[in-house]
């Protein structure tokens, strides 16, 4: 537990301080959401209709942006080798790093959602639904991304490869995230069912992600 907290604190600090790039994701999110109206036109009714989808795609891309540094920075300065040799189980180590990444990169996206929702002319209820589904769904994005980050950590062009590996796996999260948001806004289906499945996806990838990532690190860095 001490190791968990110490690592969480270290990673969070490193991400927030200069050069950590934690807020890059939010800025990117803001820019993506700003660009969409330029592409689809400033029609407010249309923006309201596709708003949840825009926010979800923006958050998905923004959470990818910082993933390549999740393990690569530690690999470059050698601290990942220390963690590999340490007594703390590697699964717990990567889970901690994923938690730190979620706190510094995904939680800001959830917090920024209400403001961006206003840009897209969303109702308060819709904003709440999108923020809630993002809160429930982004852990899945981080844990799936963790696998990709572990696979590509030692590669020369790992950052380019990462989205290729991760994005197809995020299809279910995107589907159920947007579906739950839309169900809360317009119906006809209930909010509960897709939201529950979204939570299940998050919990499932919370289990799968650390084990697969730890296996990838063990095999990749020996």
């Amino acid at each position: 537990m001490t190791a968990f907290l110490a690592l969480l604190q270290r990673d969070t600090r490193l991400a927030i301080r200069i050069g950590g790039g934690a807020l890059m994701g939010v800025l990117f999110f803001l820019i993506v959401v700003t660009l969409v109206p330029f592409a689809v036109g400033p029609d407010l009714a249309q923006l309201r209709r596709i708003g949840p989808a825009i926010l979800w795609v923006g958050a998905l891309l923004a959470s990818l942006l910082t993933l390549d540094r999740l393990l690569a920075a530690d690999h470059e300065d050698g601290s990942l080798d220390l963690l590999l040799m340490g007594t703390t189980p590697l699964e717990l180590v990567v889970l901690t790093k994923a938690a730190a990444h979620w706190i510094t990169s995904c939680l800001p996206l959830v917090i920024a959602t209400p403001l961006l929702g206003l840009f897209l002319n969303l109702e308060p209820l819709a904003i709440g639904a999108v923020a809630l589904t993002l809160l429930a769904g982004t852990p899945a994005l981080t844990c799936i991304g963790l696998i990709g980050a572990a696979l590509s950590v030692a590669l020369r062009r790992g950052g380019l490869l990462l989205p290729l590996l991760v994005l197809p796996l995020t299809v279910p999260v995107l589907i159920f995230g947007v579906a739950a948001s839309n169900a809360a806004i317009a119906g006809p289906t209930s909010f509960g069912a897709p939201f529950m499945i979204l939570c299940a996806l998050s919990l499932g990838s919370l289990v799968l992600g650390p084990f697969a990532a730890a296996a990838a690190l063990r095999h990749g860095l020996e």
Partner: protein
């Protein structure tokens, strides 16, 4: 070290050298019989001659999924037993699986144009096959990025197994998404139950494509083993020169 690992593949090479010509002949015969049966199969009363695309399309779609299963089994062999042949088998299967998936998409699209009036619809099956294709490309890209063959093999094996767990989930969620967005109007309820006059050529063609996969897979595995030997020789040569 690397040369000791090649001991078992040597036996594989000599065994496949004997088997491959026969497999190739069997494939050619199966294709000849299958294509003849397809040629003589009756046209569909609604779809006309375009129904014959099905005899190419359906076996490819089956193989697209079967090859991922082959890769998954080989990946377990790579990760659990570190079997050098399992690694080679998984790597050799990836481009073949990607090709079959691409052919399934292409023929489906060409079939869809006269039938549905469009090359592409966001139907559940098409969409999940497209995601499958993207995942094949991801594995391909990953195994082409790492220099060391055995490390590349293990990374690709982990991604393959993660994909094997995720593909049913993706399939399920795409089905769910599709029923939410549009009622199943595009796919007619698969017409009448398949008549034996259609089913027999289809099964023969499926057998032919399966034999084609086995033949190409074994040949690709041989190539991969030889490629690795060449690589080892180069490395030894470079080592000796320095």
């Amino acid at each position: 070290m690397a040369l000791i690992d090649l001991a078992n593949p040597t036996r594989f090479l000599s065994a496949t050298a004997r088997v491959l010509p026969w497999l190739a002949i069997a494939t050619a015969i199966a294709f000849a019989v299958g294509l003849y049966l397809v040629w003589s199969a009756p046209d569909d009363y609604q779809q006309g001659a375009t129904v014959k695309i099905m005899f190419i399309h359906v076996p490819n779609a089956w193989l697209a999924m079967a090859v991922w299963a082959v890769m998954s089994i080989a990946s377990i062999g790579t990760l659990v037993w570190r079997h050098p042949l399992a690694d080679v088998a998984a790597k050799a299967a990836v481009p073949l699986g990607a090709a079959f998936t691409f052919l399934a998409l292409l023929t489906g699209s060409l079939w869809g144009r006269p039938m549905w009036g469009t090359y592409w619809v966001w139907d559940a099956r098409l969409t999940s096959v497209l995601v499958l294709f993207l995942m094949y490309l991801g594995v391909l890209a990953l195994s082409r990025t790492v220099d060391d063959p055995s490390r590349a093999g293990r990374a690709a094996a982990i991604l393959t197994l993660v994909g094997a767990i995720n593909l049913p989930i993706i399939k399920f969620s795409v089905d769910w998404w599709n029923t939410l967005h549009q009622p199943a109007s595009v796919f007619r309820a698969s017409g009448p139950a398949i008549d034996p006059s259609i089913l027999t050529p289809l099964l023969v063609m499926a057998l032919a494509f399966m034999l084609l996969f086995v033949t190409l897979h074994l040949a690709a595995m041989r190539n991969e083993i030889l490629r690795r030997r060449v690589r080892t020789m180069w490395l030894m040569q470079a080592h000796a020169a320095s």
